[in-house]
Symmetry: D2
Subunit: 430 residues, 4 copies
């Protein structure tokens, strides 16, 4: 039996913070009421909000220069599931995890499904991996995978994606996320048009293998690991591909995969408009695909993204059903702490967006009252919704202060004892 945080500890910790929370929640409720907003309506929506955690995210990430693992690293997918379950236990915000293959491949997929069920965790989108070579792999992806000049390599990559779907079906997933590192480092290395031919050819085969109730999420990225061109570099290319594939293909937005200065929330708005928004890989970044914790660098940007999502939900945009996932690289923090914190920051942005008076905002926009429109939006962001988030956790049986409770539990120390041989755990970072 491995260690799990006892619910009694959570209850005990919560008891200590209950009075302060009640005071803050009540004061915020009065303030929101004066602004014409109902705190309970917001809290209810926050309770219902969920974001998936990536199985690979519970291991320490790294850069091309180094990786510095921490104690108690998960040794395989079963350990990872346990950590994912702990994140959900404390935050009540992450009921599912998103697996990555072959990293999470096991001999008995049924056993994996069972274990997750026992831990109270479901499975979100499955992720394929054709950006690394695996031991014993017949052909290399050094010069590409789904867009390699060699048909044999493309076939191998296609087959892997189809296998991911098969595993995902056993796990109860309903989507496949396809991110490739394909591209080129130098002008002249590849023909920019030809590689897109191959992308479409490969994706069409994968698409043909999708079950009826599945979706495929195409993930674009400006650069890295390719440093001159990336085959699916931007949302325009991603949309072009999705529309050519068919109604089950959608475009995934990772917040760190864009050129500097780009207005991401407008891209989100455009994809919603054409009914092709797959969902998100949430994280934050200052320079590139930094994969930092969500909301840690530009929380106002995260809020603006959620402003588009709430706007779309409230106007009933057709086909609007985004999948939310965290996708981060935890290089210098305890991954469990980072994922808990990030799930909360994503909720924060959502709650702030719910704290906007949308009717008044629409009126100001209609009147070209720039100052009023902008202040109405900012009012949502400035609101300290922390009491709402804590109350939502408390009501769901989670911790008022997940970080404090986690630290009080000694979970990591216990795991460091339980997981001695953490030598070569996969540390993938997408």
């Amino acid at each position: 039996m491995t260690y799990r945080i006892p619910d009694s500890l959570i209850a005990e910790q919560n008891a200590a913070g209950a009075a302060a929370l009640a005071d803050d929640y009540s004061a915020l409720g009065r303030q929101l009421e004066r602004r014409g907003l109902d705190i309970e309506a917001i809290t209810t929506k926050v309770v219902d909000f969920a974001v998936a955690v990536p199985t690979w995210g519970v291991g320490t990430g790294g850069t091309r220069f180094a990786r510095f693992p921490g104690p108690g690293e998960p040794r395989g997918v079963f350990d990872k599931l346990e950590d994912c379950a702990t994140i959900h236990q404390l935050t009540r915000a992450t009921p599912t995890c998103s697996p990555h293959f072959p990293w999470d491949k096991v001999r008995d997929t049924g056993e994996l499904a069972e274990r997750a069920k026992a831990l109270g965790i479901g499975f979100d989108a499955v992720n394929s991996n054709t950006f690394q070579d695996q031991p014993g792999q017949p052909l290399s992806y050094k010069f590409g995978s789904l867009t390699h000049a060699s048909k044999a390599v493309r076939d191998q990559a296609v087959a892997h994606n189809i296998e991911c779907i098969a595993i995902g079906e056993k796990l109860g997933s309903k989507a496949l996320t396809v991110w490739i590192g394909d591209g080129s480092n130098f002008p002249g290395q590849s023909n920019l048009n030809r590689v897109f031919d191959w992308y479409m050819e490969s994706l069409a085969q994968i698409y043909a293998s999708l079950p009826r109730d599945w979706r495929v999420f195409l993930e674009h990225k400006l650069n890295e690991p390719a440093f001159y061109s990336t085959v699916i570099a931007d949302w325009g290319t991603s949309l072009m591909a999705a529309e050519a594939l068919g109604p089950q293909a959608f475009c995934l937005v990772d917040l760190g995969h864009h050129a500097p200065n780009v207005n991401i929330e407008q891209i989100v708005s455009r994809l919603i408009r054409v009914g092709r928004l797959a969902g998100f890989h949430f994280n934050d970044s200052k320079y590139g695909d930094d994969d930092l914790d969500a909301g840690s660098i530009d929380p106002f940007r995260l809020f603006r993204v959620f402003n588009e999502l709430v706007d779309a939900a409230e106007r009933g945009a057709p086909g609007f059903d985004p999948a939310y996932m965290l996708d981060q690289s935890h290089n210098v923090t305890d991954p469990i702490e980072s994922l808990m914190d990030s799930a909360i920051e994503v909720q924060r942005a959502y709650a702030q967006a719910l704290a906007v008076d949308r009717a008044a905002l629409a009126d100001a926009q209609e009147a070209s009252d720039v100052m009023l429109g902008r202040r109405l939006l900012k009012a949502g962001f400035v609101t300290d919704v922390s009491p709402i988030l804590a109350e939502a956790r408390r009501r769901g049986g989670g911790a008022i202060d997940p970080l404090a409770t986690y630290r009080a539990s000694g979970y990591r120390t216990r795991k460091a004892e339980e997981r001695p041989a953490a030598a070569g755990s996969s540390s993938g970072i997408v």
Copy 2:
């Protein structure tokens, strides 16, 4: 009678440079032959290449801080035509000009067409202007034009575009370029989805007014004059709009309208692929929409764009028929000198792209021979094609050294005398 450079001066100047050119051209011919390339085939294509000049480009441009006009500024469209004709006379590369309305609006459009014809100049795409308020204009574009919240403003902007088409028909144009400054400076100022509704609604009306043999060019831009969001901010949005409008709508690429680091040549490749590349506004930039002279900052990027164009032409990409235009702001140079130089730099990139051994390149790419592929491409760029460009001009009756000949003619000094009242000439810069 206004001053025009006598052909005798060109001939005289050319005579002085003929021997050197012959030596250089011959040496380059031998080198290309050793590389399996035929210099005459390249020269012929260069002779046939043309790029339009913008009428507003012959006036001195400026920034929001200041504008510093030079002597002999054109006082109106008739003076502008004269300068455009001079550019073509010396370079033989710019047989058409692109007018901008209402800047170039005259009472008698027929007179304008006559004058151009007499000068040997044709008309390229017409440009509408709804990013400025004109004296006496009923409604302001301060908060938008084709996407303004007020229908009356949108109608006014639509009507202006339709008028531009009407004028253009009289001038022999076959395309309308639509660039708007619409967007927002602050989050909350406008609803990002709603303004796109209005864009589509307005464009549909303009599109319905297009003659059968016309095209409409949609020009996207990341930012400026709007500094938070731009309605048509990127090629993805531009393509979304073009596809919704119909087969006469195309996407225009201005080299300075992208986010930092973006791979522009790949965007060109994608637009060619879907048959929606309108063409180009050529210029160069280091920071943003700097509107510097073509090829002055990143000539290798310009070459890579032409590599895509030559590749598309040689593979016979369906619907491939791009319009080429310069669009620059000449703040510190004599605009005529800048436009001559820029036309030549665009030709240079074209000739360099023609100096690539494409069969060998395709083989290297097929074999994933990264180093060979990249060297084969770079070999085209490294080639000093100056003798080809000079020879193409010489054969067409232009100047071997247009700058030297222009300066020798004293054209600018003459114009400074002929055009005394150059007070308020329009200095638009798009």
Copy 3:
């Protein structure tokens, strides 16, 4: 007699909001107390905080494409003073204004000083202008001013700066801000080292004219209006110049004058370290020098800057005495509304930085507890300090809700009547 907002209106408006403010302020006080912070200590510091407004900021700004003036534009510096006084009246945060010459030059500087005094407004740093040509100016700044290749032009620009100091002395200013547009648009246009020689030579002359108790603020900027190189492009160059000049030279930080992605707060930290931080031109930006309202695009960045300032103040950094000024271009808002809002957003960042538990933060940093350190900092930012800001205004006689009170007063409509001839008012934007 021109219209001024009656204090009775402010009192009336405040009465309506007093109870809500009291509730919010009290709830926040309890929360801060639980976090070990004293709300009154923060409020007191906010009351003492001041930021200067630029005289040119009260006119509508524009871009190189267009300027769309609003009603009641100030017709000259006396109107501007009035608007500046109104901003201070409502916000109690902007007791001084910063004049720009020759825009604000009057025949009788004494009259200007008198008028400001009567309005309760003082003068901050004076700004010189050698980036535009003025009517009747003997030599042009088209190719540079303090760094022009011609000594005569440099001398003219130096003399103008010395005149600015002389005017500033009469106004009670204690600093000269020098921003130049000098640089180049093309590689080869100027010798990058030679122009810096000239900069130092010119600045040395200006420095020699500084009164003993004055400072000169050197303002760097990456680009615009020069689009290839700017002579004082970054803080490294600015510091190099300041150190060569002497102890009265300091480096000014404008938040929009940096390359994309740059960590501005670290630059602030470095300049504080060497005792050379002049102060700030506050504004916000998404793309470049957008000159948007402070805190409107990246409020967390503004907070991080203030985190450095509070840190420096609390550790008693030697020579730490920054000057705070807003420097924005109000293109689509009422400039008075924008400047009020911006002053408040700057205060907000300051108050949030004061709401950080710095002792605990230092402990977490010492222990390399990354998650705790970051959460302690973020806790300050997440705090909704609005009640503190409103209370500080209320105590100083300002408006609880400046925007509502301003609009209720009808100030702008009155000014539109009083200032009929607002044709050619200067709309400088730096």
Copy 4:
């Protein structure tokens, strides 16, 4: 005995290309003469030009996602020396290599020095490594090295640098390059000022250990591996540190370590001006620190850097003595091919800068003749100096076409046979 390319093969290959080279060289000589330039003077300078190769560069590099090694990877520093010698043998441009410790640490440094000497290779600057943890290392650099909050960690890092100097002395090096990955991923993780205190404290100790005739090169970098702040993030910070340390401290410029859009050649100009330019890590990049082959992405930028270097050399800038090194990550090419090509591209930029008529350029700049100045500079870049580079190699005993000769030799295949156990070779990339 391991395989080395026989000089006879080089001679044989050169014989085949000699006639073409003679024709091209002669034609270029005539053209340059017409432009007032002496080809022999340029060729002589190119012959004398040298750039160091990094020992770690001969192994295949990678990204955080994957590394795809090639055949015949060097298994240790002795193999690396051999590859470095081969690069020099064919290009005659890379007489020295730059070692990295502990990667290149051997028991008997004397043996290493002997082996290099036998191969005709010298040693350039030594590089320390405190951005990774080594097996058995007592303290971790996860949270910093020279700037870690713990003095014990800082001491360990200082000691390592001092050891590097000691090894370097035995190898004949005269400089230590210090690049650290220290910084933070999140606001609040560290105190931006405090970490700089520690940097200065640590560097002062290292500096005190420098032999009199040594220099220390401080290398700045904007981001990566730290993604919020980097302690030595820019040239301003680097210069601040160098000046505080003393006359033996200099600032190293890596072309990929800057923010987007930054004008690198102007930074070079500024560092030359204050006599603190250490030299370069040459590479190229499109997005960030991509570490692509020199000249492969923006060859005009590389040329502009060399324009500053030639300008400084010709004006005799005091203390001007830069060290040149390649620093690249070869992820998809044969590292030997990439390093040969890159050394040649660096030479190309140098030769192009020598092909500028500097007297005429200075005159044009003095006259503010923007167009002429820019064309004179560009004329150097447009010149195809390939014949000069090939001739310089030929005269030195190298290959006219190094890539062709290298491939003809079968060197890589031989090495794949000779170096069977290439399992865990270090693949560092800085």
